[in-house]
């Protein structure tokens, strides 16, 4: 199943104001992988994410999603393949009711009404938001908004899920529920996040960005234990790998 593959070769992108956000990024993500893209603020995570479904086009280098390169002609296909969940649910939920919002994508794909209906129901069921169907999105809590945002993407049956800061602004319980839910998804998943504990839970592989370049790409556990690399990329060890300040345990030992 080659259509779940994402392959970037020497991606470069410079913003109109001269900021060079990506300076030659290459990676290959294969079917079913769950990958974290981590790095400091301004490292290029968001820019990279915007390339993955054609909100931005690479200025040089190539990006292949599945069998096709990202071009203006393949845009529809690629947007269908890649489901993008934005950081702020208020940007993602723009329709009058939750139902309309989840139906927005499938209707634009030109699916027949019955199929749209059943897809909406299935998507809402997966995220546990069936009871919110008729509610207006601005009345939902943060956790509910996030769940519905994910449903709006699931209803298009994407092969690849891309999420920008999925746990931002969530209370611990909602965050935990979200993580448990994401664990059950069989899609190829890409997360851009600062929540490194989430990375530890969900991603077997991490790509570390720094100033528009990939500085590390490998198993999450190895990367999270590489103190020098983390410090150099303005990151910190996930809390769970740090020693407990109350019950003691030498900090020096925690990393080894």
């Amino acid at each position: 199943m080659s259509h779940h593959i994402i392959e970037a070769k020497d991606l470069r992108y410079i913003y109109p104001d001269g900021t060079s956000a990506l300076q030659g990024i290459s990676f290959r993500i294969t079917h079913g992988e769950s990958v974290a893209v981590i790095g400091a603020n301004g490292a290029g995570k968001s820019t990279l994410l915007q390339h993955l479904n054609g909100c931005l086009f690479p200025q040089s280098g190539t990006l292949r999603i599945g069998d096709s390169p990202l071009t203006k002609d393949t845009l529809t296909l690629i947007r269908r393949t890649v489901g993008m969940v934005f950081q702020d649910p208020d940007d993602q939920l723009f329709m009058p009711t939750v139902f309309d919002d989840v139906a927005f994508g499938p209707l634009n794909l030109g699916l027949p009404p019955q199929e749209v209906e059943s897809r909406v129901n299935r998507a809402l069921e997966i995220v546990g938001a069936t009871h919110l169907r008729e509610r207006p999105p601005y009345k939902l809590s943060g956790g509910e908004k996030r769940a519905v945002s994910i449903a709006t993407v699931l209803s298009m049956s994407p092969d690849i899920l891309v999420m920008d800061e999925p746990t931002s602004n969530l209370d611990p319980r909602s965050r935990r529920l979200l993580i448990e839910m994401l664990k059950t998804f069989k899609h190829t998943k890409i997360f851009a996040t600062h929540d490194l504990d989430l990375v530890l839970d969900l991603c077997e592989r991490s790509i570390v960005l720094k100033q528009g370049l990939v500085v590390a790409d490998g198993p999450t556990v190895e990367i999270m234990n590489d103190q020098a690399l983390l410090e150099d990329s303005r990151l910190e060890k996930p809390f769970r790998l740090q020693s407990c300040p109350i019950c003691g345990g030498a900090k020096a030992n925690a990393g080894s």
Partner: protein, 270 residues
């Protein structure tokens, strides 16, 4: 600051009222919209000195509010909020138009006062009807009805987005206002200059958000047309609703009911 949040809360109340399930709530949005339009057109079409013939028209919003379980006090308060506009429109009539039209006991009443009262009644009727329409239909359903009746989609989509992001905008401006008031002391920092920069900020943020929303829409296959899945059924009940009310309105427009009753009573006792 508090007044903005009160208004936001008020919008929420309107939304809540529109989600009830009563006989008038269940009617098709188009039927209610059309009837309201007929109502407004008939009321507005009365002559400038007409007062008594418009009184029976109060039956329409009254019936809808009671059937739709809409608290009268709530709507009346909303009407009072916008009343100054109507008062401003009519307040000069008594000064300009001093011709005596009628007498009430020994008091002479000029045409100006009558047309002023006529304007106020008209205003109350039309605003009340429009508010009731939204309260028993819901803003988005009114938009959907507009679209189905052939209003250009661009306008309808604009309205829908306006309503959707009004809440976000209010939240954002409240945060700005709060942040300013926490760091302004003795009236310093709350002048027009800071206000200007705040409005500018709000505009820039809004533009940013608009761009992100557009991206989110494109990501889900948006190509210039908003598609909504909503089974619409304009049934016999809806037809009867529109026709019934319209006939009543036109009848009340053609025949001055209070006048007829008055004449009848006079003849009875004469």
């Amino acid at each position: 600051m508090s007044s903005i949040s009160t208004h936001a809360y008020d919008l929420g109340t309107m939304d809540r009222l529109s989600r009830q399930d009563t006989s008038v709530h269940r009617l098709d949005g188009r039927a209610k919209l059309l009837t309201t339009l007929v109502f407004i057109v008939t009321v507005v079409s009365f002559g400038r000195y007409e007062v008594s013939a418009m009184i029976p028209f109060f039956i329409y919003p009254l019936v809808l509010c009671s059937l739709g379980n809409i608290p009268l006090v709530y709507l009346v308060r909303k009407i009072i909020v916008v009343a100054p506009f109507a008062i401003l429109v009519g307040i000069f009539n008594p000064i300009i138009d001093r011709q005596i039209l009628t007498t009430l006991g020994s008091a002479q009443i000029s045409g100006g006062w009558i047309s002023f009262i006529s304007i106020l009644i008209r205003f109350t009727l039309t605003v009340w009807a429009a508010l009731t329409l939204v309260a028993i239909t819901g803003f988005n359903a009114v938009c959907a009805a507009l679209e189905k009746l052939g209003v250009p989609r661009v306008f309808v989509v604009q309205l829908m987005f306006l309503y959707r992001y009004l809440f976000v905008l209010i939240d954002e401006s409240l945060r700005l206002v709060r942040a300013r008031s926490l760091r302004s002391f003795n009236g310093k920092g709350s002048g027009i200059r800071t206000f200007g920069s705040m409005v500018g900020h709000l505009l820039l943020r809004t533009l940013d958000r608009a761009q992100r929303i557009h991206q989110a829409m494109s990501c889900r296959g948006f190509s210039g047309e908003i598609r909504v899945l909503r089974p619409a059924s304009f049934g016999l009940g809806d037809v009867a609703y529109v026709l019934g009310w319209s006939v009543l309105f036109v009848g009340l427009r053609l025949f001055n009911l209070p006048h007829l009753i008055g004449n009848g009573l006079t003849r009875l006792f004469a």
